[in-house]
Symmetry: C2
Subunit: 136 residues, 2 copies
């Protein structure tokens, strides 16, 4: 946030300076008007590109980031979420158990709880719903 303000401040300052400079240059005849206009055009072109990229980046990350609030509202615990990630990696219950250093039985319990919390009948359906909810 602070960074954004600083960047914008410098940007506005630079543009004001550019305006004043170009006005002076045209009036005093040091530069011809076409050249000045070209500089202005190029500068604003890149300003447009930059600002647009910024806003798109924000929108992009917002649509891809994990919705932690949704996870909480679904009452999915930390461990259950780790199991969900294991499922999304295509692991079997046994493999998830080995990864998390617990037994397959434990994973089965977590999976069963996950399915009921996500209102899914299968792990593949859980994946599909989890994607819809932006929690993976």
């Amino acid at each position: 946030m602070r960074k954004t303000i600083i960047v914008f401040g410098l940007l506005i300052l630079g543009l004001l300076l550019l305006f004043q400079f170009s006005k002076y240059a045209v009036i005093s005849g040091d530069l011809d008007s076409e050249f000045t206009i070209a500089i202005i055009a190029v500068v604003f072109f890149f300003v447009g590109v930059y600002l647009n990229k910024r806003s798109l980046q924000k929108r992009h990350s917002a649509s891809e980031d994990i919705d932690h609030k949704k996870i909480k509202s679904l009452n999915i615990s930390k461990r259950e979420y780790e199991v969900l990630l294991g499922i999304s990696e295509g692991l079997s219950n046994k493999e998830i158990g080995e990864k998390l250093f617990v037994s397959e039985s434990t994973i089965k319990t977590h999976v069963s709880n996950l399915l009921s919390k996500l209102n899914a009948k299968r792990r593949t359906q859980a994946l599909q719903k989890a994607k819809d909810f932006n929690i993976i």
Copy 2:
């Protein structure tokens, strides 16, 4: 493609006209230079935004579009691909069969072939690999 060329042609034409107009306006004194510069700045700002949005859209769709060549190179048939989509929707073999009006046995055959073609051990792993390959 034709659309793009027309748009760019009109854009360049418009900019050239703007240049000529602004030069005339400044020389003849009908407009002051600040106003002209402001117009140029605004126009190029939006040109920058527009072009950037275009290029990002292309890049975006390229990363999300389905890689049909990859599907072919993996020797995945039309029917097998339909089954893969069923899996990605979280359907069971039986449900996929009902959707495609064939028996569960047929779906099992397709799934088994899919798994070997994708070098996966489970349907969830097939999903993960299919995403990596950008084929779903």
